[in-house]
Assembly symmetry: C2
Homo-oligomer: 305 residues x 2
């Protein structure tokens, strides 16, 4: 019996993965807000580097209370909208269901554990470049891999493998994380310097990597985040820094998600991407001055959006 999926937030992320799952035969239900009318009329369209695809008549909803209860609830909102989750998640999740937290940053699983209980929470990191070109219109330009990790336990669970199989059948590369905290912090090693500096300095990753001062500052920030993770008891290895630098160096100009939010005058995910890691590190005894500097500058910019 195929699993049902609720997509909470049908944007660049939720729209892409939800439409892929739909085409792989999953029963997928999309929650929309401002784009609802447009998507009811014109469907969901995804221009992907791997070939375009669309859903003419998606199961679209304006209100979570109208949705069927699902096996997997994919949280794909910007974290700046997470105050909505206590009302949105309970009506759409089956008693045996699981919430898949597909958002950036740290601490979101803890928030959602407070709503549905920790055993019903799973983390899902999305390594993807996708944009919303317009209502129901997504552009997928690169990557797509997800990494799944249980929130309340370590190791690879049966339900992780089952959900992972659905994504694999949908053509999405899947990794299973033994320890969700490790992959969350590893992603922060990339997200903190690149999202922070491209937004503050109004630039892109290629420009940061070609200037000697920002190039080495990016690396200094990465080492600070690695040290913060370890201070928090999360064993992140040294090799991640070189891997993250190499994966960005030599790439074409790229605007991270926070820079896109800033450019489009949307509130930025400063608290989950910077504030939560900073507070976690400081609570564990780290100083973390570079993250503190970026956090304070971004809070200033965010307050003026």
């Amino acid at each position: 019996m195929s699993r049902s999926y609720a997509i909470i937030g049908t944007g660049a992320l939720g729209g892409y993965y939800g439409a892929r799952l739909h085409h792989a035969g999953c029963d997928v239900h999309f929650l929309l807000h401002s784009d609802y009318d447009h998507v009811r009329q014109h469907g969901l369209i995804c221009e992907s580097k791997d070939g375009d695809f669309s859903i003419l008549k998606p199961n679209a909803y304006r209100n979570a209370n109208d949705m069927p209860r699902c096996d997997v609830v994919c949280v794909c909102l910007k974290t700046t909208q997470n105050h909505l989750l206590p009302k949105v998640i309970p009506p759409v999740i089956k008693d045996t269901g699981v919430v898949l937290v597909m958002q950036n940053g740290l601490g979101v699983e803890d928030e959602i554990a407070g709503i549905v209980g920790p055993e019903r929470v799973m983390g899902c990191l999305c390594f993807i470049c996708s944009y919303k070109l317009g209502p129901g219109h997504i552009q997928h330009t690169d990557y797509g891999l997800i990494a799944l990790g249980e929130f309340a336990t370590r190791g690879v669970s049966d339900r992780m493998r089952a959900i992972g199989d659905d994504f694999k059948h949908a053509g999405i590369p899947v990794q299973f994380a033994e320890d969700l905290r490790v992959v969350r912090w590893q992603k922060l090693v990339w997200n903190i310097p690149y999202n922070g500096l491209t937004t503050i300095l109004q630039t892109d990753t290629a420009a940061l990597m070609s200037d000697p001062h920002t190039r080495q500052f990016v690396e200094r920030i990465m080492w600070e985040v690695v040290a913060d993770a370890r201070t928090c008891g999360v064993p992140v290895g040294d090799e991640i820094v070189d891997r993250m630098l190499r994966s960005t160096e030599g790439k074409l100009s790229y605007r991270p998600s926070m820079k896109i939010d800033f450019d489009e005058h949307r509130r930025m995910e400063v608290e989950t991407m910077f504030g939560n890691p900073l507070r976690a590190a400081q609570a564990a005894g780290a100083i973390s001055p570079f993250v503190e500097a970026l956090y304070n500058q971004l809070k200033f910019l965010d307050a003026r959006i």
Copy 2:
């Protein structure tokens, strides 16, 4: 016998102080570059909060070799032009003369000591708000106090008092510093956070002080600079932080000099205001991560001007 003054760089700073000294009866000679023709024709005009004044026919020069040798050579260039000094200073200074370093930042006296010898160097900190509205046209909006300090010795020298008297007669408040290093670092306590953050965040001092995150970040940076000074063996007292915060809080919107340079697409004084203090602090064993963060971000912005 009245002292003669050479003003090296007749902009917002040199034009203001030079014209004041001229009106007090000193023999003042102005070196100009791009504004030379205009000033020869139209003179120097200063709109001051204390009353406007001007010099119709200033002693203006395009080339240092044409100037008479003077008792006091006031270096008023932007520090980004300091590569010119080895050619400009020697022909205008008397054997018994002194170079007054009226620039911002750290380390400039050392550079000039390499040209004329340390015993002919005096530091002069300028606490003034003035802008160049156009060629030979200066607006003086606030303050004006100078602090004089010997470079090679401690204590208040006779020549310091004599030069200070000239400035006092010109209506300029004068302080005598027993230890030039203390006043240099004290000024950095203000300059580093405000010049850095207004430039990086594209804002002014009032906005920084009214946002809670930048307000406390400014203070955190100030304490780091105080600690850096002490690590360098310079006894800067705690009270400076409160004094600098209070002098800025409640003031109207103010654009520090680096922000003005950035806005007007001029190269910024990043090395003397950030790079030299950072390297001095690190050489003495300090870590100074906030200054490092600001320095790297400013170097990126400066390279793109």
